[in-house]
Symmetry: C2
């Protein structure tokens, strides 16, 4: 039965995408290995390596889709073909897998692909397709007009369905439990590296498959000026700012809290109150059809501006999140997207004074008719250990 549901979901997404393509006059789509492919086919994108890897055919690693054909995967023999074959088993909506061997010249492979696509007049490609691939495709299809597939896919991925919501709630639950386990293990003298390592271990122990981005632990000492803004081992009076997230079933979390070691000084308490109030105001306003991304950012910003600390809230209020840690829409002044039911955003106001203060909070929150519904429920009171 699980399989039936999954088939319906992916086939439905592919059908909706094809309808969008037709509406926009896009004959074919070429998407690189990315969260888009997971969304459209169920084949999970492997995590990026920390430094660039480059296997033969990597520039074409992805899939194409026309009205008649696809999704057809295009995969380098080395490091990808076994993986995609395994992931495709039982996924009948995947039309074919084309393997690029180490003997295949990229130009020949690209020519043959364009021909299979029927040499489209208008071809939409991934937002992050490498320039190398775009140059290659242009060379073999000089008459084809290329455009960005982003606008076709973003509105679909932005709204999370029931199953996606269930998975992201579970990613939140893993995040809460792992954080709770980490706090129990905090000791004086631990460094940011020690704590980050413990977080990453606890995330996996609690069911995650890895981290969604590099774990950040910032320890402001009792006297941050003395440390020249550098991270120092945990000591009485330290303020520890956490920023981390997990991958679970191909979806991610992104979470933040600020922890005081001992009683915080009154100024920190005031900053903390302002940040939590800004977050709370924003979360309450996350109703479908009632607010834009820019307006939501403004609401939170007004709280911190109102206390005179606006200059220390130096970044957007948050970002869309789902398969990737940053997905459009973004909660900032240039984004006029109206919030819709099912969209998920981080809500993460902060007050940062370089070398002195770092107070932050972050939760992934879903837009619902009753206002925002956070996927993490860890206490937002002062966390004192």
């Amino acid at each position: 039965m699980g399989v039936t549901v999954e088939m319906t979901v992916y086939e439905d997404r592919l059908q909706r995408l094809r309808a969008r393509m037709e509406r926009e006059g896009v004959d074919a789509m070429y998407l690189v290995m990315s969260g888009d492919l997971q969304y459209l086919t169920g084949v999970k994108r492997p995590p990026h390596n920390p430094t660039d890897d480059d296997k033969h055919g990597d520039e074409l690693y992805g899939m194409y889709l026309t009205q008649e054909r696809g999704p057809v995967f295009v995969v380098p023999r080395m490091g990808a073909s076994d993986y995609v074959s395994e992931q495709s088993e039982g996924r009948d909506w995947i039309d074919d897998i084309i393997v690029i061997d180490e003997e295949d010249h990229p130009e020949d492979a690209a020519s043959s692909l364009l021909e299979r696509m029927g040499t489209p007049n208008r071809l939409a490609v991934s937002d992050r397709m490498w320039a190398r691939a775009l140059f290659l495709l242009r060379r073999v299809a000089p008459e084809t007009c290329f455009c960005n597939a982003r606008d076709l896919i973003v509105p679909m991925r932005a709204v999370k369905d029931e199953e996606e919501t269930r998975i992201m709630q579970e990613a939140g639950r893993i995040t809460d439990s792992a954080f709770s386990a980490v706090l129990k293990r905090l000791r004086l003298g631990m460094t940011d590296y020690d704590i980050a390592r413990e977080i990453e271990h606890q995330l996996v122990l609690h069911g995650g498959s890895g981290v969604s981005f590099h774990t950040t632990v910032q320890i402001c000492g009792a006297d941050p000026a003395a440390a020249g803004g550098e991270s120092v081992p945990v000591q009485p009076g330290s303020v520890i700012a956490f920023d981390f997230g997990v991958v679970y079933e191909g979806y991610v979390s992104d979470f933040g809290r600020t922890v005081f070691v001992g009683e915080p000084d009154q100024k920190f308490v005031e900053y903390h109150d302002a940040v939590m109030e800004a977050q709370s105001v924003a979360i309450s306003a996350m109703r479908p059809g009632e607010v834009t991304a820019a307006e939501l950012d403004r609401k939170a910003r007004d709280v911190i501006d109102g206390r005179g600390w606006g200059d220390f809230f130096t970044h957007r209020l948050g970002h869309g999140i789902g398969i990737d840690v940053h997905e459009p829409p973004f909660l900032y002044q240039l984004d006029d997207t109206v919030l819709q039911e099912g969209m998920c955003f981080t809500v993460e106001p902060s007050i940062r004074i370089p070398g002195a203060v770092c107070v932050r909070v972050e939760d992934v929150v879903q837009v619902t008719p009753d206002g925002g519904s956070p996927f993490t429920s860890f206490s937002r009171d002062y966390l004192i250990i």
Copy 2:
């Protein structure tokens, strides 16, 4: 004095690159944040996140260079501007830093950049520039001809100078020591996750700043067929294949060995001998001017083919390596690059029979007049624990 040397290195590289640009009729270059920027300016590229992140202005994060101006960094305010400012301190060859604020429209930012570059006739861009950025630059500079910067930079990065060699030797030393520490900690019942976690910890303890790619530990059980090809906890008779690498001062290692738990069976010994001989034959032949990448691949392949196991050596012999884990040239049949003194490659023949056998070895080896000089010296005999 260290600073003087560093200045000379980067200024020299920039000068050589400008000469190449002039020769090729390239007026300007736009490179994204990558190993290229580290190579040309000393500003280290931060490790990629496991899932996609996307901050405002990220598509333009990089630097440009013309004959008159640059390197000029272009950096998103959020998450990048503080980092690049810090890294630029004392690096006088960096001309300027332009910050993209969250209020800046990408089209305006791109227009202004192209104007500063003097609206080049021919602009070379990074091999991996996002399609989004390329579309954006084309829109604001419709008369400009775009090409791939790869061919200009690859030949420079491929040959490692003395200081790069010293750093990569040190990365090799860290790798050897960490592996030695890991082997001492191997216990029956450990899983691939436990071992990978220990490797990553030991790499940092021994001086690395992180891993260069995802640590791979494959445990073939005494009866691999029984496990259906899945990784199983270490047991008597297990064969453990390691593949991992470290980042040290912005350069990487990539290393592999195969370890037997208890006495290996005779067939494994024969596979192991063949793989080691293939590697040894290739390493001896790594003399400047005497062999191409394709020929070197063939030499190693012949050894394994000669024993009748050619079908189980399913990938290229190796790849260039330096700032990134995979850099051109590549040791395979499509690459006719003649090996030059100072080039560094992995040499990594293997025999893999899915669900049954995995025997591998991998070292980073530099081309010298006396043949290949490996940066790792860990024993290549049977490793029996």
